[in-house]
Subunit: 236 residues, 2 copies
């Protein structure tokens, strides 16, 4: 895996009040008053594609909000193979484990260009003493992560290769329905779906031949959503 330098930008004057994902971000529930408390600067980082945000086992001192992009969470099996257990997208939170002083349980690796807020654990802790509202907000994050995990298991580890690929493509188009979908490496797709790269490749090729997906510039895809939905649900 290539290592890519991490560019860091400080928000300076700017703060979470103006954040693009404010409505879905961690501090969404806090009113204006509370923002006064954010004296501590929140770091904003940019990652390019195969860059690692954190590594399994690291002691984290930060929680992250994904403002833009896609991040994979990777677990390593005893036999050395790797499995992508979840994908995070715009508005999702990463590294909540750090709040519990636990090491991160995955590798977190950028799949696309990513913009990520770094929120020091100390800040969250300080605020949560005063704001029981924040606690609620945090639990919502956990809940969302868990719901995604369950969905991941049900949709992407069950059924034929065709079904899994179709469901994954639809999942990827959920953030912006109708918009083109970024397609990444066959190896990653395989690790998400529990399939080999060859099987994924064959399946994608077949979908392309039958015009259910169409290549666009920049490795983007447009989908025949209705048809893919039928496939995903087993209507062959």
């Amino acid at each position: 895996m290539k290592t890519v330098p991490i560019r860091v930008a400080w928000l300076g004057e700017q703060n979470c009040r103006d954040c693009a994902v404010r409505s879905s971000a961690l501090f969404a529930g806090l009113g204006e008053v509370d923002f006064g408390e954010l004296h501590q600067p929140i770091e904003d980082i940019i990652l390019e594609s195969p860059a690692m945000l954190y590594r399994v086992g690291e002691r984290g001192r930060a929680v992250f909000t994904l403002r833009r992009g896609l991040v994979k969470l990777v677990k390593y099996l005893p036999d050395g193979n790797q499995r992508i257990v979840r994908l995070l997208r715009q508005g999702d939170t990463l590294g909540l484990e750090a709040l519990l002083s636990q090491p991160y349980p995955h590798d977190a690796i950028a799949l696309t260009h990513c913009e990520i807020c770094t929120i020091p654990v100390s800040l969250v802790e300080r605020l949560s003493h005063e704001q029981s509202r924040l606690c609620q907000e945090l639990m919502t994050r956990w809940q969302r992560a868990l719901a995604e995990a369950d969905r991941w298991l049900a949709e992407f580890s069950t059924g034929t290769a065709r079904q899994r690929v179709a469901r994954l493509l639809l999942w990827l188009s959920e953030t912006a329905p109708g918009q083109p979908v970024p397609l990444f490496g066959r190896e990653d797709l395989g690790a998400m779906l529990g399939l080999t790269t060859e099987t994924v490749s064959r399946t994608i090729a077949e979908l392309r031949r039958t015009r259910l997906i169409r290549e666009m510039p920049h490795n983007q895809l447009t989908l025949d959503q209705a048809a893919l939905r039928r496939i995903g649900e087993g209507m062959v």
Copy 2:
């Protein structure tokens, strides 16, 4: 599915102070002082095997602590098939979603004899206003659930049928290593591992023939843990 009447027992004088799973239960972090606040009675219920604790979509008004037994969380796929996304055991917490006023996302069904504490959401909410410690405790529950979900995905949806069955048996023996393990219906096992009942049956039969597992009374099994561990890790 048979419906089994639910026997309800009130704890009366007894409370969480004396609970068998106190050290791992929801209120584990609370000192003696805090127990004074538990004026509200905590209901203790007993479920027998295929009884349902709650149903997907229900508006929950309670969180549950599993004091004893095994509970499956079931999700239903669009094609009507069902998938068991997680198994809960002694000390685990169920229905945390109720704290966020969310409907339960699964069916929760007892796989064995179960003893379960029912904790009203209102009680948790009242306490959590005063006790930021409880918030921490709750997040730990979420984190544990999420870790189990990830593990479930990595261990029970990957590899050959032999590997999956071996790993599941080992998982079941984790609560009490060396102790016999309860074995349940092939259909449930299949839904946990993403396999058909026939494949599970063949695999179990083969493990029995090769003496890696041994039948005991009451549908219990003793395991050759070392051998199963080798299988689970792919050392054939």
